[in-house]
Symmetry: none
Subunit: 222 residues, 2 copies
């Protein structure tokens, strides 16, 4: 991750640069506003740390200009201007956070991490050997070949994979997949296990879904 620090006090700038480099960021420093803005606009950075009072161009000006071109790249103010009014002005100029000096390096670091937090909402996909189950798209693939499943098939496979390595009793399966909470004598489970094994071609050396006679089924990688 690349960080641009725009800070005219050399001591603070060095302290920040060193600290962030220890956290394996790639850090560039600009010591005055005009230079800072030009560097920021190059688009090479994942995040900006701005002082407010700077020679040539203030942090506010940098932030405002920068936002015209880059809507998303996070900007954090790090400044001695600590009044409420100033904080609000800083945030209104497009910054994502506003930290007042004196500051704790560890808190700054954490706030940087917050801004760089991947904001992907996607849930983790479930896998079983070469089988992948995408909970966003309800797609199931085996060796990247899509295999269309019906709702009940999907739901059963999902339950088995979520309990990968553990035996799923028939009673738990009928509860979880069919939402039936009383004793119920039926052969549906067998039929659906059969359908899964057929569609997913789970035979011989790829028998990911095994029968535990008298109990239920277990999904496991072999």
């Amino acid at each position: 991750m690349r960080v641009l620090i725009v800070e005219d006090e050399i001591g603070i700038a060095n302290f920040l640069k060193q600290g962030l480099e220890e956290e394996s960021f790639v850090v560039d420093v600009a010591y005055e506003g005009g230079e800072g803005l030009i560097m920021a606009l190059s688009g090479e950075y994942d995040i900006l740390i701005l002082d407010w009072m700077l020679p040539e161009k203030s942090g506010i000006e940098i932030c405002t200009e920068f936002r015209k071109k880059f809507k998303k790249t996070p900007v954090i103010f790090l400044t001695a201007k600590d009044t409420m009014k100033e904080t609000i002005l800083g945030l209104q100029s497009g910054a994502n956070d506003y930290i007042k000096k004196p500051f704790h390096f560890d808190e700054l670091l954490e706030r940087i991490k917050v801004q760089l937090r991947p904001n992907t909402e996607e849930l983790e996909g479930l896998t079983l050997g070469s089988i992948k189950l995408n909970l966003n798209t309800y797609q199931v693939t085996k060796n990247n070949v899509e295999i269309p499943l019906t709702q009940k098939e999907f739901s059963l496979l999902e339950m088995l994979i979520r309990n990968k390595g553990k035996v799923c009793k028939r009673s738990r399966i009928i509860e979880s997949v069919w939402d039936i909470h009383f004793d119920y004598n039926t052969g549906v489970i067998d039929v659906y296990i059969n359908a899964l094994r057929k569609k997913l071609k789970l035979s011989g050396d790829e028998n990911y879904i095994q029968t535990i006679r008298g109990v239920g089924y277990i999904a496991k990688e072999l």
Copy 2:
């Protein structure tokens, strides 16, 4: 915009609620942690304001649990726990900002606005293949030809595009577009999907809105 405040001090809670309502937010308050978490998980809120110390469940626990399900919804801590270590813990639990008491309401408000700031996607308008959706003018075009849609049609299309690449369950659609929060058996969705497909001529090689039988619909570029 809907805000959930979880705060056990009634005075502060009322103060916040009133202040935010004056800014035309819709505000709900939970006075203890367990209740707060349940409300948060309902998925009805655009942002959470959490106290740390709460009866039953701490703000940290709420935030951690909430993040398991909602990766994106912003969370702001508002707490008297003001040490650096605590701040870091709060942010690490998944919060987006951490404000220490005593606080200025105007700064809190500004920080809320920062979190709710529309992302680039919304600024540039939503698109789905050659279809463009302008949220300001409520115009929809396909290949730059305007296609008039009714409100419900627009709203449904907007929801699908906002979740582009992800399946929208029927239950989520009826919640989001029709604002119905209980189990409701209806065929309106089908009718409106049909209308959209017709008006937007989504057939054959342009079938941007696909049916996931037994689940819902998914919008995707092919």
